[in-house]
């Protein structure tokens, strides 16, 4: 039996700084053991435990798409011990990876339907994975219209600018990028995510909504989404919690009797309504 | 001799105030005064900067001795940093000794920039003391 606490070694192949504040970086990792790569089969919306040797371990959502071959990516904001150590690491550093953990997004349920992705700030990472997955040539036909609404505080805080550019050039995605307040030189949308959702008003007809963002954004976006007619069991949210083990044992990420790490991190809005308000 | 048979020599961590003891150490060096090479120096802006955690952490990490050296009372670059530190170190030293840490492992001195010779003497004495005590064991995390 595999020991779920032992990380698999990977090497940082590339580091991309994502924002102007320089505290969000994307790390591209490649497995040193081809067997480990084969075993690391993930879905969009799952996460992994990242070990920075000499510092510790923390859970990070997978930012690459399963369609990306040969490597995995994690976008990490510098906040604590481990993420700071990771930010200080250079290309070529050995990083441990355990996972993938969690349920991920409901890809099967999304097939043949319109998909509306709403994200805010740094929480966009797993949504980026999902967007890239849907847009991939092998998958695009399986889904209908794709609407992406993504907001950040200012243009400098928008992550994955390179992806946003490619997506913007395609005609099979309705991309809406917004910033909180107008700044010179910005020609895109301006306003908070909830307001933009209202403005864009994606149809809820045969559609599924996937939402991820800071609590305050979720709080104000949910009423808008409901108003647009998305039913609570077709609205999915991805949650964040302090975690240690990632496998439902360490006991801190529970909301009621559900563990965010193993029963989540993706829950329907309906499920969340039934769960205690403790997240 | 094979490395394994090499005689044990103490490792001592020294926190030296930038404005006095560090310059004192410098002077000792320039003046070619001989003192044992067992100290590793951390330059600090003032003895008042030396958080007791630094000292405790050094002992936990297996340093055989610690030396904190600052300006003589009244000479502090920041007027009273060393005086605040003095009370702190008094309590820390008393407490550590009470717990059973050998008193020779914790050393404090006032060495001015002009006292190169005193610096060399202090180091000599500290190294002798720690040598007599042997390798640190108590409080060291294995």
């Amino acid at each position: 039996m595999n020991n779920p606490y032992i990380p698999n070694p990977t090497v940082i192949r590339r580091i991309t700084t994502e924002n102007d504040a320089n505290d969000i970086k994307t790390f591209e990792l490649v497995f040193t053991d081809p067997e480990a790569l084969k075993n690391f089969r993930y879905r969009c919306g799952q996460f992994a435990e990242i070990s920075v040797f000499g510092a510790g371990e923390c859970p990070i959502g997978i930012a690459s798409s399963p369609t990306d071959q040969g490597y995995i990516q994690f976008t990490v904001k510098k906040v604590g011990v481990v993420t700071t150590a990771l930010h200080n690491s250079e290309e070529g550093t050995i990083i441990g990876v355990r996972g993938p953990f969690g349920n991920g997004f409901p890809l099967e349920a999304m097939e043949g339907r319109n998909v509306v992705i709403i994200g805010g700030g740094f929480a966009f990472t797993t949504l980026r994975s999902l967007t890239n997955f849907i847009l991939h040539k092998t998958n695009r036909d399986r889904f209908k219209d794709l609407t992406v609404i993504y907001g950040a505080r200012n243009p400098g805080e928008l992550i994955y600018k390179y992806d946003l550019k490619t997506w913007g050039q395609r005609d099979d995605i309705d991309l809406n990028v917004t910033i909180d307040q107008a700044v010179p030189g910005w020609t895109g949308l301006v306003g908070f995510v909830p307001a933009v959702v209202k403005e864009v008003a994606p149809s809820s007809d045969n559609a599924i909504a996937i939402i991820c963002g800071p609590p305050i954004m979720i709080k104000f976006t949910m009423p808008v989404v409901s108003e647009l007619g998305f039913s609570p069991d077709e609205t999915f949210l991805s949650l964040e919690m302090r975690m240690k083990c990632g496998i439902g044992k360490c006991g801190r990420c529970n909301i009621g009797n559900k563990f965010v790490c193993k029963d989540g991190p993706v829950f329907t809005f309906k499920e969340l309504q039934m769960m205690p308000k403790e997240h | 001799m094979k490395p394994a048979e090499k005689e044990w020599t103490p490792k001592i961590l020294a926190f030296l105030c930038n404005w006095c003891s560090y310059a004192g150490a410098d002077l000792a060096g320039i003046s070619r005064m001989q003192y044992p090479p067992n100290i590793r120096v951390v330059r600090v802006p003032c003895s008042g900067r030396v958080n007791p955690y630094f000292i405790i952490k050094a002992l936990q990490r297996g340093w055989d001795g610690v030396l904190v050296s600052g300006c003589h009372p009244g000479d502090c670059h920041y007027i009273s940093g060393n005086l605040v530190a003095r009370r702190r170190f008094a309590v820390l030293k008393d407490l550590l000794e009470y717990l059973g840490i050998e008193s020779g492992r914790l050393n404090f001195s006032w060495v001015s920039a002009a006292e190169g010779e005193k610096f060399a003497t202090v180091v000599k004495e500290v190294v002798e003391k720690v040598k007599a005590l042997g390798p640190a064991e108590r409080l060291v995390k294995r």
Binding site: G80, V81, T84 | P52, Y53, I56, K57, Q60, P73, G74, S80, L83, V84, R86, R87, R88, F89, A90, V91, L92, K93, D94, L95, L96, E97, Y98, L99, G100, I101, E102, S103, N107, F108, S109, W110, V122, E125, R138, L139, V140, K141, R142
Partner: protein, 315 residues
């Protein structure tokens, strides 16, 4: 005792009905023999719950930290002193606290009782005059009360609260005691023996932090052991880590600790934690002639300095 208990209830009732306070923090009967439990009374009719006896061992000043409402608190000498320290350190708003001072003749140390009974369970205990009657299955024993008084109380010189707003009962005489006598033997031992002693004691520690949580002066929002930027010391129950935890905690309460004994009483592993903190008290007394919690104005030793402070340990 009953006299004091009644006056506490009356004082509490008065404070609540005159709306001088919103809440009284006191003691009520516990669920086990020789136990009381902290109790929060916000209605005048509920003051009947309040009790006063030798088992009122919690230091209630812990419950005053960061309170928004006006609170009346029942305080023994040591409790009042720790409140004084917290007021000085601006952790308790003096204007919001009414101290119901109560004279204390010493608390019963349930661990001493347990040790005496050596594995037999205590089911009932009554204290009358100076005697304590312990009952359990198949035994009924009577001992002088003084056999079971907490060590912190045996060395107490401030049985009457030095600061208070209301005083209940009558002041008791202060005992002339050898304040630091209990650690004298230990101090006289060679370093190696002291080390062995503390090693054995602190090796029992399970890092439950009961000592920290009951301590009225451990109010840091993030304790040094919980800090992560940087991680100073380990959180394991490795001897080195536990030693350092207790050492630094003692260092942090130096010049502030009033020796209420709460840490020792709270320790589930029976570690005599006072042995560590008592030393800081002594250092403060001997080096800086300072006793904590007696004044609301005097700056504690580690908050100030003198040019001629002792420095015999500095080369």
């Amino acid at each position: 005792m009953h006299n004091v208990e009644n006056s506490i209830r009356e004082a509490a009732k008065k404070l609540l009905s005159e709306k001088k306070v919103d809440l009284i923090v006191g003691y009520e009967r516990g669920t086990l023999p020789l136990r009381t439990t902290p109790c929060f009374v916000d209605k005048a009719e509920d003051v009947r719950k309040l009790v006063w006896n030798e088992n009122c061992d919690a230091n209630l000043s812990k419950y005053l930290l960061s309170r928004k409402e006006n609170v009346g608190v029942v305080a023994k000498g040591c409790d009042a002193r720790s409140i004084a320290v917290c007021i000085f350190e601006k952790q308790i708003d003096k204007e919001k606290v009414v101290i119901i001072g109560a004279p204390c003749l010493g608390l019963i140390d349930k661990k001493k009782v347990k040790a005496k009974l050596d594995g037999r369970e205590l089911l009932e205990a009554t204290i009358e005059d100076e005697q304590i009657r312990l009952k359990g299955e198949g035994f009924e024993l009577v001992f002088p009360k003084k056999d079971f008084i907490c060590n912190s109380c045996l060395t107490c010189r401030h049985r009457n609260p030095p600061i208070y707003d209301v005083f209940t009962g009558e002041k008791v005489s202060e005992a002339e005691v050898d304040e630091f006598g209990e650690i004298a033997d230990l101090e006289a031992k060679p370093a190696k023996e002291r080390w062995e002693h503390f090693k054995e004691e602190l090796d029992k520690c399970i890092r439950c932090y009961a000592c920290r949580e009951v301590c009225p002066l451990c109010y840091c929002k993030t304790c040094f052991v919980d800090q992560t930027m940087p991680i100073w010391f380990g959180k394991t129950n490795d001897l080195s880590d536990t030693m350092i935890y207790h050492l630094v905690r003692a260092f942090h309460v130096a010049g502030r600790c009033v020796d209420c004994g709460a840490c020792s009483r709270a320790c589930p592993m029976n570690i005599n934690l006072r042995e560590v903190v008592k030393k800081t008290e002594k250092i403060m007394k001997e080096r800086y002639d300072y006793t904590a919690g007696l004044s609301l104005e005097k700056i504690p030793p580690l908050g100030e300095f003198k040019i001629d402070d002792s420095q015999e340990f500095i080369k």
